[in-house]
């Protein structure tokens, strides 16, 4: 097979952009919906929709009365609007290799790869306590900014 240099460059560029969106990326999430922001941030950070596949969000939004051990139920209209927003902006590359669709962001293969350099003592430190506490290190997480420049690992 003979590929011209422009074709090869094109393929390499495509591969690189795919890798970027799956792993490094800009780590900036701008999708917004006022109801999502208000309701989901009532108890925790409003996790960006891109961090889970659409299947996970759909499943989560149908069992809000049993939401990780707490009742987070909403009226049907609000739940439907938020669910549609989450699914429309869901991640597309982050499913587990097993084909399962996990509900916990911290259990996705993507999350584990991104955080594989974080030592155990940081996860269990008083400032972090649990991996779902994004804002402990991602200081601008509430604005959807998970970039390295806003990252501060608490001592």
């Amino acid at each position: 097979m003979n590929f011209s240099i422009p074709t090869i460059s094109f393929i390499l560029a495509l591969l690189a952009s795919g890798l970027t969106s799956a792993h490094a990326g800009e780590h900036l999430y701008s999708a917004n919906n006022p109801k999502w922001k208000t309701e989901c941030s009532a108890c925790h950070l409003a996790y960006p929709p891109q961090l889970l596949p659409a299947e996970s969000w759909r499943a989560m939004m149908t069992q809000l009365d049993k939401h990780f051990g707490a009742d987070a139920s909403l009226d049907a209209k609000t739940a439907a609007e938020i669910s549609a927003f989450l699914q429309a902006n869901a991640g597309r590359n982050k499913r587990e290799a097993t084909g399962k669709s996990p509900l916990r962001i911290t259990e996705t293969r993507w999350f584990k790869q991104e955080h594989d350099e974080v030592p155990a003592r940081v996860w269990s430190s008083a400032a972090v306590k649990q991996p779902s506490n994004c804002a402990a290190c991602h200081t601008q997480a509430e604005r959807g900014d998970f970039s390295e420049r806003s990252l501060r690992i608490p001592r």
Binding site: C43, H44, D71, S73, D75, K129
Partner: protein, 140 residues
């Protein structure tokens, strides 16, 4: 602009601020009255609210892991902290936080969710009235 009367401009400005600010349809006292009314209608044994009963309900566990105070703290005039996520929760006592118990939809939503978490069931209207009476007895 010259021809628009000043009064109209002031009215428009007031209307705009009104829209921008959260509108409190009720006061906490109104909400308490509504809950008392509902308790009278649904519970024939209801003989009026009790802040003491409300405090007991608030501070003790009821067979589940959490009490109300687990997240809202033993002092509802101070900020609380979500028992699971650690997120700071604004004070629940109306004296410390004027927005509390001023919107019926929010009152219903949070009693529904939190009673389910704390008591594994819905709270009765008289229980809700007792808790609100307790919260309103706290001076910040």
């Amino acid at each position: 602009m010259k021809h628009i009367p000043h009064k109209l401009i002031i009215l428009l400005a007031l209307a705009a601020t009104g829209l921008a600010q959260p509108m409190f349809a009720l006061t906490a006292a109104d909400t308490l009255k509504q809950l008392e009314q509902s308790a009278k209608q649904t519970d024939p044994t209801f003989k009026g609210v009790s802040a003491q009963r409300g405090e007991r309900l608030f501070k003790t566990t009821h067979g589940a892991e959490w009490s109300c105070a687990s997240c809202h703290s033993d002092n509802p005039a101070a900020s609380g902290k979500h028992a699971k996520t650690g997120k700071v929760i604004a004070p629940l006592a109306p004296a410390a936080n004027a927005e509390r118990f001023t919107r019926q939809d929010k009152v219903e939503k949070w009693f529904r969710r939190n009673c389910n978490d704390v008591l594994n069931r819905a709270c009765t209207a008289s229980e809700q009235a007792d808790v609100l009476a307790y919260l309103m007895s706290i001076k910040s």
